[in-house]
């Protein structure tokens, strides 16, 4: 089974169970907190990833670490993952859960690349413009790349909106090059 199919199934299960127990909001927060800790805390990530640490050890670590600090359902979910030998995929599953929730709440990630940093006003104007265009709530991720020279590149899902000076110059370059090669144009001039 492809990894993606697996992560999607576990994420959907977590969502449905949380929804049924009415603890969606709390689980959302837990997932966010867990993702951040996994990202910033190598030893913790290694606990989940390492095949060397035995199952029961992992299980007790999760219990001791998280019992009382997060929703009961979250702990049970993580222990289920360990029991089913899927704990190595924890990070992907949690990410999948997040994108599942985003989809439901109409939030999309927008990767925006700019040549130099934007002022707060520009940023909020950009978010507003993108929200109007997509009809969804925008979660903005800003990147800087001086190579763009000017303008910006927005990527939402598969769609890319490229209004950078670099690509415009590239288009002009192609156009001038092709123009000199075309014989028709030469005939016209002659």
């Amino acid at each position: 089974m492809s990894q993606r199919t697996v992560t999607r199934r576990y994420a959907a299960a977590l969502y449905e169970e949380a929804d049924a127990n009415g603890v969606l909001e709390a689980v959302d927060e837990d997932v966010l907190m867990l993702l951040e800790s996994l990202d910033g805390n190598r030893p913790l990530a290694r606990v989940f990833e390492s095949p060397v640490i035995p199952q029961d050890k992992k299980d007790s670590i999760v219990r001791e670490l998280l019992d009382g600090r997060v929703e009961d359902l979250t702990v049970r979910f993580l222990r289920l993952l360990i029991q089913k030998d899927r704990e190595t995929m924890t990070e992907e599953i949690l990410n999948q859960y997040r994108s599942l929730r985003d989809e439901q709440r109409g939030i999309v990630d927008a990767e925006v690349t700019v040549a130099r940093s934007l002022t707060d006003e520009d940023q909020s104007a950009l978010v507003e413009a993108l929200e109007e265009k997509t009809g969804k709530k925008i979660r903005l991720h800003l990147h800087e790349d001086p190579g763009l020279i000017g303008g910006l590149v927005v990527r939402i899902g598969d769609r890319v909106f490229d209004a950078s000076v670099r690509s415009q110059l590239g288009a002009l370059h192609d156009r001038l090059r092709d123009a000199t090669l075309s014989e028709d144009a030469l005939d016209e001039v002659a």
Binding site: T5, R159, A171, L172, E183
Partner: protein, 551 residues
Amino acid sequence: MSNGSIRPDEVTDILRRELGDFETKAEEYEAGTVLEAGDGIATLYGLSNAQASELVEFPEQGVEGMVLNLEEDNVGVILFGDVDSVSEGDEARRTGRIASVGVNENMLGRVIDPLGRPLDGKGPIEGEKTVLPLERKAPGVIYREPVEEPLQTGIKAIDSMIPVGRGQRELVIGDRQTGKTAVLTDTIINQKKTHDEGTDSGDPVYCVYVAVGQKDSTVAQVQRDLERNGAMEHTVIINASAAMPTPLQYVAPFAGACIGEYFRDTGRDSLVCFDDLSKQAVAYRELSLLLRRPPGREAYPGDIFYLHSRLLERAAKIISDEEVAAQMNGLPDALQDKVQGGGSLTALPVIETQAGDVSAYIPTNVISITDGQIYLETDLFNSGVRPAIDVGNSVSRVGGSAQIDAMKDVASTLRIDLSQYRELEAFAKFGSDLDPSTQQQLNRGERLVEILNQNEFSPVPVEEQVAIIYAAINGFLDDIPVDDIEDFEEEYLERLRLRHEEVLAEIRETEALTDAAEEVFEEVAADMADVYAEDEEEEEEDVLADEGATT
């Protein structure tokens, strides 16, 4: 650039004008990321709206690819061009275009790759092109007509016993080194006269030769042979050589069909030779396995039959009714206002067998798809039969109605005579005491085999084929020694051409064999047979006399 007198200010002018027209516009496109790449395929993440057989570009590498696999969370793409330059993490963009080739008349005489780019160093292909999709649905039943018009190959054994009609699919099958390609090149060369004005050889036939997975040297040889025989002017060669990426070898036959269809749908006749489809099947197997499609028999994927059947279905004789033809299914937009009825696409696919095994997977598939096969045999080739066609195993399922009446008259018993000869030949090897009628049949058979022999690059016009076969089946050759048959044929045809041109012209025009024509053939044949038979007797006497002198 064609003329050397371009002044700098002209160039500046063009540049200035281009600059003036240039609008700054934001680009909007869909992009995905390469997950893995290698061996001519790439797996992409994203591009969730991509369509099957859509072109995808890799802007950084300048490479294009075609979507072949659409899965839940990834897209499988086959790469054309510099396959190794694409690597993990590269960006891929949708183009919104379906994989296609631009076709026009200026392609005739050229060698191109499967995407229409010239390979012969003769500069770009000029002129406006009609862009046709590589994959296209074959015309439905109502847009077709039965195959009735002959496509003369100029090869006596084929035109007389395994006739091919325009719009037919006739398989050329045999082991390596049995002359499969020679059958194709001879057929292409014979189409030359359909392009000469003032002959009655039928409408011009435009030819496409598709070389798949062959050596570049072989393709260069074919090109040279066609050029030397004046046949390159009406031919396009598509080359996807063994050194080119597998994806190009896989699409090459489709590109060939595309060019053939351009002529077919504009009311003209075309001939497409696929040399050969076994190599395309191997290329497709490679791609399928790399795309992790489940392997089936001989590790070919499950849709290998459909690969060949959908390709060969595109061979068709289009209905001559213009109105109906204009409504043809699956017409690309580019052809919409150019459609004319009455065109045809004849396909001559080639399959290479291993040690004569026609019951392998791919040969049986293609045999069942086509309207007959021309079976070439190593044993016949080694015993000097050229072309080495095994008449007993070769058939043409629809070509019979495409034969001209004159040929039908003379060739009807040819096949039976030959197969009886082959049967007796096996018996005759055991003993020499044979009754006269058997002796007679063997005698006749030997001479029939001899007149069906033919050199490469020397197609025989159909009326001359009729003349020589007429002489053979009516016993005029029976007294001529087998070694002299070739000379006899040459001289006999030469005399007919010089003294009785009107008889040959009549057959060419009316396509029928009249009693008067038969009389002429009989007279000339009998006359010359006497001369050859006498020569023989004299020679024998000379030998006897020499022997007498020495003793």
